[in-house]
Symmetry: C2
Subunit: 157 residues, 2 copies
DNA sequence: CCATTTATATCACGAGTTTATGTAAAATTT
DNA sequence: AAATTTTACATAAACTCGTGATATAAATGG
């Protein structure tokens, strides 16, 4: 469009991130009957361990009612269990069931396998470049996530 | 079960991509009353221009009925318009309205701005590293998307 | 003991998904 | 040309998922 587009067109992290999102969402989804939301929730529990419903909603950036219903569905499917806190009659900890844990682990492996297949179609140079680039990028991205999370939390209060 | 924590030092493009997805979906969403699905659809039309409904569904990896309803909603909101093809009475081309195009352009700018704010919290070294890494990664990722799209298409036939 | 806060649930509703099916126009067959 | 099939899209039914508003029930603090 204008001259700004020239600078940003060559060096645009946003565009690259958008591409990643499209690749992951569109082509590496394979949510075998599971929704993106459900996957994200289970993945969160897998990484963070048992979590209170309200906190789960907060870290997933979703509303409490939405999370409440999601947990109920996942409970019906036998993927999570509730542990009522004896110290606090209101609260309950949401945790992965064995089935849930297995499912997440399998999914993670499947995703890795599928991405590996895709990476195998690249030239050895491209494959190496991408791996190197993403290994450089990852810790920095994680710092961005941390920063974003903090500013989200602040904006919410 | 196994040590997820040890993945940190490992070479795992999947994990890095997952981080990107979480960052973009969770923290850079700001879908001002617009859904992720709607955003994706409008973005597609912005990039590809007027598209038939069926093809739109295909490239977005969504069903035809789902896309049909989505387009109806977007039409109601004045973001897309239909142009019935005089050559083919069955088909209609879906295109962005002026309002839709403006909205997508603004959103893109906002996303860039917000990401720029986040990047500004990084050290100059990290910022430069991330930009460099993503500029290396992007064309390779685009090749992956192309490959994935072709194999998706083949699997569907 | 009563009021407030906190944790979760429920309700109403719209968006978005799927599969199955309907409709109408184009293409093909005979 | 008429009948059939295919193609492009719409509709229906049933579910997940999101929201805000509100209910319930337990902890907390006067």
């Amino acid at each position: 469009m204008d001259e700004v587009g020239r600078d940003q067109g060559r060096d645009d992290v946003t565009e690259a991130f958008d591409d990643v999102v499209r690749l992951m969402i569109r082509h590496l989804a394979d949510h075998g009957s599971l929704t993106f939301t459900a996957i994200m929730c289970l993945g969160r529990l897998y990484r963070d361990g048992p979590t209170r419903l309200t906190e789960l909603a907060a870290v997933e950036g979703s509303s409490q009612p939405s999370t409440s219903q999601l947990v109920q569905r996942l409970e019906r499917q036998g993927l999570v269990v509730r542990v009522r806190d004896p110290q606090d009659g209101r609260a309950s900890l949401i945790a992965l069931s064995d089935a849930g844990r297995t499912l997440v682990a399998n999914r993670l492996r499947d995703r890795r396998d599928r991405l590996a297949e895709l990476l195998a179609t690249l030239s050895p140079e491209d494959d190496a470049s991408l791996r190197l680039a993403m290994n450089v990028a990852r810790p920095i991205i994680q710092r961005l996530i941390e920063t974003a999370r903090r500013s989200d939390k602040q904006a919410r209060s």
